[in-house]
Amino acid sequence: MVSPPDRPRTRLLTVVLRRALSALGTLWAAVTLAFFALRIAGGDPTHSLLAQGLASPEQVAALRSHLGLDDSLTTQYVHYLGDLIQGDLGESLYTGRNVTAVIGEQLPPSLQLALSAFVVSLILGLSLGLASGWYPRRVVGRVADALSALATGLPVAIVGLIAILAAAYLSRMFLPALALTRAGGLVLPSLTLGFGASGALARAIQAGLLETSAAPYLVAARARGIARGARLMWHALRPVLPLAVSLSALQAAFLLSGTVVTETVFSRPGLGRLLVSAILDGDYPVVQGLVVLGAAVYTLTHSVAEVIASHLDPRLRDAEA
């Protein structure tokens, strides 16, 4: 539907405010779900301390009252929310350290990995999507199509292990100086994670291009004598972009989960390793803090992506009004 030209446009600020409010609501619901799911599924978190003989019954009793575990679930929940607003995620059961501080320590390597993987996924996703959507019958398009199928389907763990093998082979055969497998290196982990994250983007751009390249306005542009490259950039790609931007929120979810796996594959320190060891230890405040952080990052990216997408596409903007 075409909106009448004199209709006032929805202002960016309105869109941002509306998005922020709904994001806060979703985040609150997610925090609540995480809190109760963990409590209901887990029962008493101090049992494992007792069972492993890490603490005497008296110590456990002291810890329980210190953590407020003797209060009712509702009281604990209210306390947790109150602390959370002040950025306090509680204390680790094992080290007694503040969870926010522990997460802060492990954040840099994970952030570095996730951000560089995001850049890789944008470059790869855009090129694979462009190649397979704009040249569907040429060899380059078919290769890109197969690669994006692999990127969508292959588990990150397997991609990572194959990458390590390939890099070891390459550096043994051809490039001993390059040392791709160097410990703590960022190249292989971010390529691995970025490849996995590029699949959805490539698929979306491919599907969008295949659809728009058959659209009447593209035939018209061709008839007007507009060059192929300009047609791609200004006519075919433009309607695809908002969807691609919305999809980057999905990529954020993938990067968050994928970081956990990638860090294990490459034995990198970071939040993912922290999460796995906290799960094995039954250190529920750490697990909960990390999941809340994940939900917050995801909700934030999702909202920002929606705002940008609605800015790029006037139809989306007016539909929200």
Partner: protein, 267 residues
Amino acid sequence: MKPDLRRSFAVAWLGLAVVLTTLAPRLTSHSVGQPVGAPLAPASSSLPLGGDELGRDLWTRLLYGGRASLGASILAAGLTVALGSLVGLLAALAGRWIHGLIVLVVNAALAIPGLLLALLLVAGLGPGFPTIVLAVGLGGVAGFARLARQAFLQGQTASYIAAASALGAGRTRVALAHLIPNARPLLVPLAATYYAWSLLGTTTLTFLGLGGDPTNPEWGSMLNAGRLYLQEAPHLVLLPGLAIALTILSVHSLASARARSFPDRPV
């Protein structure tokens, strides 16, 4: 690869995997947990694929590992599909309040990326293989429920539903006789996609070392154990990795083929 050829490959691999893992006790006489040769023993007539890092028969462990992985992912996906359809159906049929509550809980669950949600549940229930099945199954429910609800809502506006109601059919009758059968073409490819997700989820969680006892083989935990011998014995990683990858890619290609074979129906 041509779509038809790809589909034949997919069917062949899945068939082979099911037959081999089902017949596992007949195809090998070695024990799963006991070493039968030297660590990383080369392939021989008694050990067709050689030994693993502890000298256990790799062929036996791949077969039984497949049983565990495929079985666990089928159970988890079954849980997701059953619960997700139920929640989706309830959301589509229920009144405003229940609908609102379901949407709130589903959106909350969707705000936590799927694998993180499963990890949260594993943390609550404690590591172990049964836990992983439950966690992966429950982790997918919200996503499935949302898409299932859309499928049911689409059917609900159809004129045959109005006709059935006019003829005096109750809500339950409409749901069982009309909504569910007509949503099936949408739900079946969705279920297949979630099966792939379940296999990915279970093998990922066991790869992270959350699967409990490593004596019992499972493709994901074999991947993790072989990781330390990547240079000396890459096949310890490549074989279970290939099995997981082939299964997931096969299911993906069949799911999209199935989705294509049900074009938009007139009703």
